[in-house]
């Protein structure tokens, strides 16, 4: 049963991501992206990453996706829900991307990952993440806070009408 659910989610992620990449309607793409995010959250659960799964939903679906919708709504005439989009250099792009994919798969899959035989199941990760965040990763954490502040100020400055 778990196997079945896993592969369903797997397929959902791939399919919705494909819709994001190939779809003709921007609004559809955004909603497909939501599917991808939720699917990835599911994948996290299978990887015992409970905290990340929740963070994924809260930040991506709740935050970034809404920002993207705002971006679309503010930059198109929304008389209709049909906001079509077009693509450029499809052929060349597809060729190159397939090449990249081949390279990744051929180099990653045959590799013998040490320890991959015995997957380790974390029972719950929140405490561990919290502890690491305030010990080993404290400086990174502080830098991140400064970065967020910078992004906040930068975004506010950039979005003003007169620069």
């Amino acid at each position: 049963m778990a196997d079945f659910i896993f592969w369903m989610i797997w397929a959902l992620v791939v399919a919705s991501a494909a819709l994001v990449a190939f779809g003709n309607n921007l609004i559809h793409s955004v909603f497909a992206l939501m599917g991808t995010f939720l699917g990835v959250a599911g994948i996290y659960i299978f990887l015992n990453a409970d905290f990340l799964a929740v963070t994924q939903i809260v930040v991506y679906v709740g935050g970034i996706l809404v920002l993207l919708v705002f971006g679309i709504m503010l930059t198109n005439q929304i008389s209709t829900a049909q906001i079509s989009q077009s693509s450029v250099q499809k052929g060349l792009g597809l060729l190159v991307v397939l090449g990249v994919l081949t390279i990744i798969l051929t180099s990653v899959l045959p590799h013998d990952w040490v320890g991959s035989i015995t997957p380790m199941a974390f029972s719950e990760t929140v405490e561990g993440i919290g502890r690491l965040l305030f010990t080993d990763y404290l400086i990174l954490f502080e830098i991140a806070s400064v970065l967020l502040l910078g992004a906040l100020i930068g975004a506010a400055t950039l979005a003003r009408k007169e620069l």
Binding site: A2, F6, V13, A17, V20, A21, L26, S29, L33, T36, V40, I43, F46, A49, L52, T55, Q56, V59, Y60, G63, I64, L68, F70, G71, I72, L74, T75, Q85, S86, S87, V88, Q89, G93, V96, V97, V100, L101, I104, L105, W113, V114, S116, P119, M120, A121, G128, I129, L132, L133, L140, L147, L148, G150, A151, G154, A155, T157, L158, A159, L163
Partner: protein
């Protein structure tokens, strides 16, 4: 589901789709969506390696920071997109080729 390669393959596919989106879309917001796909692919890799190879939480921590970074990036990128729209009335990246001059 208990094998590393299933996650790696998923991540590779997600990455490639994201890359394709970034490379081919004309709409800036769509390109942003591609970037999010790529970041998600990276996250899956980190978490998967964390479970199957390193057996500690460092990968999770990196993922948290990547999510944080993605949020900051989306905010700033959308601000830029809005600016572009105010400036030109469209957000088509292939027409924003002032770099050529």
């Amino acid at each position: 589901m208990d094998h590393l390669s299933s996650y790696l393959v998923l991540s590779a596919i997600l990455f490639s789709l994201g890359l394709y989106t970034v490379v081919t879309r004309r709409n800036a917001v769509a390109i942003l969506m591609g970037v999010e796909l790529i970041l998600n692919a990276a996250n899956i890799n980190f978490v998967a390696f964390s479970k199957f190879v390193t057996h500690n939480l460092d990968g999770h921590l990196i993922s948290v920071f990547i999510i944080m970074l993605a949020a900051a990036e989306a905010a700033v990128a959308l601000a830029i997109v809005l600016n572009l729209y105010n400036d030109r009335g469209h957000i088509n990246v292939d027409e924003a080729n002032a770099l050529k001059q």
